[in-house]
Amino acid sequence: MTRKRPEPMQVVKQRRDAALNALVSGVPYIRFLNITFDRRGDELTGVLNFDDKLIGNPFLPAIHGGVTAAFLEVTAVITLSWAHLFERIESGDLAPEDILRDESIRFPKTIDFTIDYLRSGLPRDAYARAYISRAGRRYASVRVEAWQDHHDKLYAQGSGHFLMPQDPSPER
């Protein structure tokens, strides 16, 4: 009895990065806000790359509250989709290029989302991480936190509920 040899590191990295890239870069609104994701294993960190068009109050200046809301929601949806698809990506059942092409791949839909604004968003990059409190067959509950200079000084936090894609006959 011999254990299967672990895959070479580059193969694993390439597969995961290609899948994450397909999930993120195919969405116009994520490109519009210029949100990117850092990946360490299966852990994702959303990065809101600062740009002047994200400003809400030009006198302070501060990041628009709606941008912060969108950043937290995007981080929640991508983290949830990533967790939902991860096993299929790892097993080779789902090819990265099919993630946005395959009509049967659906994303979780936001049911509701609540944002607490804790500090004003400074005109610089922001980071967010989502924690899946529960992912059931139909509903998921996700909590998100966002920070800028110090991770322990959150500038916003959010929580939301999501309707999971229904297999095997996806709704249209």
């Binding site: 969405v27 002047d52 109050n57 628009h64 941008v67 809301a69 049911i111 509701d112």
Partner: protein, 139 residues
């Protein structure tokens, strides 16, 4: 148009992100604001359906709620969001503009309470609703 409404309108038009979203403030007075966001392919959440991303709807609703607070007769000046909850009823129809109507229904010295509804061309079926609390800032 009252001075305060004029000021609020100028303020909204000076917001870089409101400009990026193409927001158009069509009504603002007495604690009520209406903002329209035209359909824009850059704001799509799923390229296969062409449906606008919920985040863009959130950004519009947040702006509209803030405008409603600023236009309230008892609001002395600016405002910032304390908390905002958005409920998504359905996907907005691709190709159609989304319009939000926000009402500041109660205001104290420190806090303003706001509700908002977003619809597309089918105004009987809301796309999303929002409820939030906002700060009341001095001049």
């Amino acid at each position: 148009m009252t001075d305060k409404a004029k000021l609020a309108r100028q303020f909204i038009q000076a917001i870089p992100h409101a400009k990026a979203l193409g927001l158009d403030l069509t009504h603002i007075a007495e604690g009520e604001a209406v903002i329209t966001m035209p359909y824009n392919a850059d704001l799509v959440g799923d390229p296969r359906t062409g449906v606008i991303h919920g985040g863009a709807v959130s950004a519009m609703m947040d702006t509209c709620c803030g405008a409603a607070v600023m236009s309230h007769p008892a609001a002395p000046g600016g405002t910032a969001t304390i908390d905002l909850r958005i409920d998504y009823m359905r996907a907005a129809t691709p190709g159609q503009a989304i319009t939000t109507r926000a009402t500041c229904y109660h205001i104290t010295r420190n806090v303003a309470f706001v509700r908002a509804v977003a619809t597309d061309d089918d105004t009987d079926r809301p796309v999303a609703t929002a409820a939030g609390s906002f700060t009341v800032e001095g001049r």
